[in-house]
């Protein structure tokens, strides 16, 4: 039995390859020592393979297992949870290869390998990661096939080709299952890969934070509009509001999370769109004002933002309808308005003084706001990503001394002055604009589109948005950050080779937009293909969705594909005679051309003898062929179609060439 248990060479080769391919995508989030362990174990295994080393002893194996467990605990702080679980899984995968001796071990290794591939998807589910994972899966399947092959098989590529062929044939049925298999919500909640620093807005803001974001070209979200895309200047994507100021930093007050949803009145035409947002590790969603969504576990907070119950840890698709002209809280809420007037004591005296002067000059709120905007517009303010250092009175420094700043400076300073003048106001943080992708008719918004603007409250009019940045640098709003900073070269300073920097090269830009469009479709149709999306697609195809139809489509389609594969594999249209019988009928046909017919029920031997008598000149060849045929077909000699074929060829050469049958001439 030992012969059966040993792992064939081909299988071992492919398992070694598979291990490399399976672990590669995990390298970025594995602790360094695991990589060391892996290299050590792989080298050891190769030495065992070359008969230069022995298998590890039981004691050593136990030691390695415990050491791995301890290592995971030390580097991840626990043995449970997704991060630790993945490291443990990879560790088990590495150690299993080392101790792998029997076919059973190899099977365990292969199954572990599939699981490790699945965990890789939790960290990276991009289109490239998906395509890449075809490689480790093929290698694992090749290892599985290798286990079945006898030790005589010696060509690893054939095994891999077979594995790839199997996967290719399985593809149609896989697609059917993917489309029709009902998607249900999570059965129980599981830890998500988290803790990775994600660039994006946070719930507090110093002016420098948004300047930092502006250096990142990372994608924040993409939005597809049902109708026409609104003009760029109207694309103010709200994320959250910041209504607490401590003299340096704007942040959100904690009370906000518990307040009831605000009252607002729909007005004007709604805008419908869907958004696919990247994981942000924050609970808020992005939308135009004032937004409604059907996404479960999501509600509208009192500052009109949309917020999920849990942070967004993987890409998320949601449908939104917005009413840009809606009236927001025309009656106000006393606590909300009180919060919108809060100011820290004893900072920025000059700004407070200026606010008082403005108040005296403009008793009407709107006049005051307009005067403030005009001030930003007409005074020599500069829009720059490189503002000078501010002292303790940052608003004073900005308004009266440096006059150089970024959107966060303008929004912060304006809110400060409005509050000092007694007008309830707050800073809104979010994104402004976005790049329109004509290939897919959607807008992509990146981190450098991060923006801050102001909204103030008026009795009966409710909250009104204003953007002081527009007064200073209208090109920021009209065409984007890159144009606004054209003279400064500070746009995306951190990433000199990002394709976003080369938008002026038309062909490169085309490729970039097409690639982005592909990624977007991938996100919407593959990664986002969960409950709602599935229902929508099936409804579009079938009109209505009923279990019976789905099952019929699934089973019927699967059977159809299987039938095609079976036809292709078995080729029933090819008649499978035994090779020697096929050759004998060729022999018959050849003699028929020379007028010798095999009678019904005539034994081959008799026929051959008759032929030899009728064609005495070719008798030796005829008899030679028949003898070999007889020996192979009757006497149990091993089949050698080559010999028969060559003897048939000799006979054909010995016979005069005759293409048509003789009987017509006779």
């Amino acid at each position: 039995m030992s012969q059966i248990q040993v792992i064939p060479r081909i299988s071992l080769t492919w398992l070694l390859v598979a291990q490399v391919l399976v672990i590669l995508p995990h390298l970025s989030h594995l602790p360094l020592w695991v990589i060391g362990l892996w290299l050590g174990c792989a080298a050891w295994r190769v030495q065992i393979f070359r008969m230069r080393a022995n298998y590890p002893s039981t004691l050593l194996k136990l030691g390695l297992m415990i050491a791995t467990g301890c290592g995971v605990f030390l580097s991840r702080g626990s043995l449970i949870g997704l991060d630790a679980g993945v490291v443990l899984l990879v560790g088990a995968f590495i150690l299993k290869l080392l101790e792998m001796r029997t076919r059973r071990d190899a099977l365990v290794l292969i199954f572990l390998g599939f699981f490790v591939v699945v965990t890789a998807y939790l960290f990276d589910d991009s289109i490239t990661a998906a395509l890449y994972s075809v490689l480790p899966v093929t290698a694992l399947l090749a290892g599985l096939i290798g286990l079945q092959q006898s030790s005589l098989a010696s060509r690893p590529w054939d095994t891999a080709k077979l594995a790839a062929g199997l996967m290719l044939q399985a593809l149609p049925i896989m697609l059917l299952l993917f489309v029709f298999f009902p998607r249900i919500g999570p059965l129980w909640s599981l830890p998500m890969p988290g803790g990775n620093a994600v660039t994006g807005l946070s719930d507090s803001m110093t002016p420098g934070d948004i300047a930092d974001l502006s250096r990142s070209g990372a994608l924040a979200f993409r939005a597809s509009f049902d109708g026409e895309v609104p003009p760029r200047t109207e694309l103010y994507w709200r994320a959250l509001t910041l209504d607490r100021f401590d003299g340096r930093r704007w942040s959100q007050s904690s009370a906000l999370n518990y307040s009831p949803s605000p009252d607002w009145q729909k007005a004007g035409d709604p805008v419908s769109y869907s958004i696919v947002m990247q994981p942000s590790s924050q609970p808020w969603l992005f939308a135009l004002d004032v937004a409604e969504t059907s996404l479960p576990q999501t509600r509208q907070l009192s500052d009109f933002r949309l917020q999920r119950s849990k942070p967004v840890e993987r890409s998320l698709l949601y449908q939104v309808t917005s009413w840009p002209q809606a009236l927001r809280e025309p009656h106000g809420s006393s606590t909300g308005l009180r919060r919108a007037l809060q100011l820290p004591a004893n900072v920025d005296p000059r700004s407070r003084q200026w606010a008082r002067e403005l108040r005296q000059q403009y008793p009407q709120d709107e006049q005051l706001v307009n005067a403030l905007l005009k001030h930003f517009n007409q005074q020599p303010f500069v829009y720059t990503l490189r503002p000078p250092q501010m002292s303790r009175d940052s608003v004073d420094d900005f308004l009266f001394d440096s006059r150089r700043g970024f959107c966060a400076h303008y929004a912060g300073a304006m809110t400060f002055v409005l509050r000092a003048a007694g007008i309830p106001s707050r800073v809104v943080a979010g994104y402004q604009g976005g790049e329109y992708n004509p290939n897919g008719n959607y807008v992509q918004v990146r981190q450098f589109d991060a923006h801050a603007w102001v909204e103030y409250w008026q009795p009966d009019r409710g909250w009104v948005s204003v953007d002081p940045t527009f007064q200073v640098a209208p090109e920021r709003i009209e065409s984007g950050l890159e144009q606004a900073l054209a003279g400064e070269e500070s746009f995306m300073e951190g990433s000199p080779f990002s394709p976003l920097r080369f938008r002026k090269l038309a062909w490169l830009n085309q490729i970039r937009l097409a690639w982005d469009n592909l990624n977007y479709s991938w996100q919407r149709w593959v990664l986002g293909y969960q409950g709602a999306q599935q229902l929508e697609l099936l409804q579009r195809w079938f009109g209505r969705v009923e279990a019976r139809e789905l099952i019929i489509s699934l089973v019927g389609g699967g059977a159809l594909f299987l039938a095609f594969i079976a036809l292709w594999l078995f080729k029933p249209w090819i008649r499978n005679g035994a090779p020697e019988q096929r050759l004998f009928s060729q022999f018959e046909r050849l003699l028929r051309r020379h007028g010798i017919y095999r009678k019904a029920g005539e034994v081959p031997g008799h026929f051959a003898r008759r032929a030899a008598i009728a064609l005495p000149r070719q008798a030796p060849e005829i008899i030679q062929f028949y003898r070999s045929f007889e020996a192979q077909y009757y006497a149990g000699e091993s089949i050698d179609p080559k010999l028969l074929r060559s003897q048939l060829r000799q006979l054909r050469r010995a016979l005069p060439l005759r293409l048509s049958r003789l009987d017509r001439q006779q």
């Binding site: 699981f115 399985a170 049925i173 299952l177 993917f178 998607r183 593959v526 990664l527 594999l569 149990g636």
Partner: protein, 318 residues
């Protein structure tokens, strides 16, 4: 109870898979079910599906479905690996009791290759062979012999899990093979040379020397039989390959007579067997007398074979 089920199963197998010296595995003959590994694989897929559902991860769904579909497609491939394979009986050697008889089987491919075919009798470790496309591979299955006479080969199990080992396809094949088993030679003192007994025996001896044997009947052809003895007329009538069976007559100076020995029948046959081998080695003519058969005196391998054959078969109903 178990014996009854076993008997029923065997009857059913005989009906469904009749014995033949050339068997082509077709859908009637091939069974296929998931193997133990296949069941484990499906369990692993279930776990992966759970992970996909809980993490709402489309790629995990996709991989689960891909592997599931590979499993389904593998049914066709595993079946195909066995389907169309031709097994042919290619004879068996003759042995003495206590030795392994080796049944020759030829595996032929009519079109595609058949990989990793395991071949074996129920209780013996299987043999694993590959059959290249449109070629044949010989295989040899051995079986320990415990009694003399014709030993019919049991059904052999032809099995393959190729390509993935997640399913196994198998068939029970009866190639209608049998091997002749001679008695086990047991050493004993050689008998005294007997005196010549008259003219009739002399004549019988001459007859034997001329090689004119007594026609006994026809039996089916087996590898190793002389071509000269093929019964062509019967073949041309479509009765299959038959061989004329002959029995020798005659007497000799040394007569090995079963009646002259005492003891258990099998023991006596074993002693006779030993003597036949001894005399043949010494090139001494001898005759053989059994309860139901006599073989005239002669020497040589053919004579030896005839004697051994008679010893193997005496007292057994054919």
């Amino acid at each position: 109870m178990i014996a009854a089920v076993q008997a029923r199963w065997n009857r059913w197998l005989t009906r469904r898979l009749p014995a033949s010296s050339r068997v082509r595995l077709t859908q009637r003959r091939i069974f296929i079910v998931p193997s133990k590994v296949g069941v484990m694989f499906l369990l692993a897929l279930t776990l992966m599906l759970l992970a996909a559902i809980n993490y709402q991860n489309s790629l995990a769904y996709a991989l689960t479905f891909l592997l599931g579909s590979v499993f389904i497609v593998a049914i066709l491939h595993t079946y195909r690996n066995l389907s169309g394979l031709v097994l042919r009986a290619a004879g068996a050697n003759t042995v003495f009791v206590g030795e392994h008889v080796r049944y020759q089987v030829t595996l032929e491919s009519l079109n595609h290759a058949h990989q990793a075919i395991s071949l074996g009798f129920a209780d013996e470790p299987p043999l694993i062979v590959d059959v290249p496309p449109q070629a044949s591979t010989p295989a040899e299955l051995s079986l320990l012999t415990t009694q003399r006479g014709w030993l019919k080969a049991p059904r052999m199990r032809v099995e393959s899990g190729f390509p993935l080992g997640l399913l196994k396809a198998w068939s029970w094949v009866d190639l209608d093979q049998q091997a002749l088993v001679y008695p086990q030679p047991i050493a004993a003192d050689l008998p005294p040379v007997m005196a010549s007994v008259g003219d009739e025996d002399e004549q019988g001896l001459r007859v034997s020397a001329d090689g004119a044997d007594d026609f006994q009947g026809l039996r089916s052809y087996q590898a190793g039989d002389s071509r000269k003895r093929l019964h062509w007329k019967a073949y041309s009538r479509g009765m299959g390959l038959l061989v004329k069976d002959f029995a020798s007559l005659g007497g000799s100076q040394t007569c090995l007579d079963i009646a002259a020995l005492s003891g258990d029948q099998e023991y006596r046959l074993s002693v006779l067997c030993y003597w036949v081998l001894q005399y043949t080695e010494r090139h001494q003519p001898f005759s053989l007398r059994l309860d139901d058969k006599q073989i005239a005196a002669d020497t040589g391998d053919v004579h030896c074979q005839a004697c051994l054959r008679a010893l193997a078969l005496t007292g057994l109903s054919q």
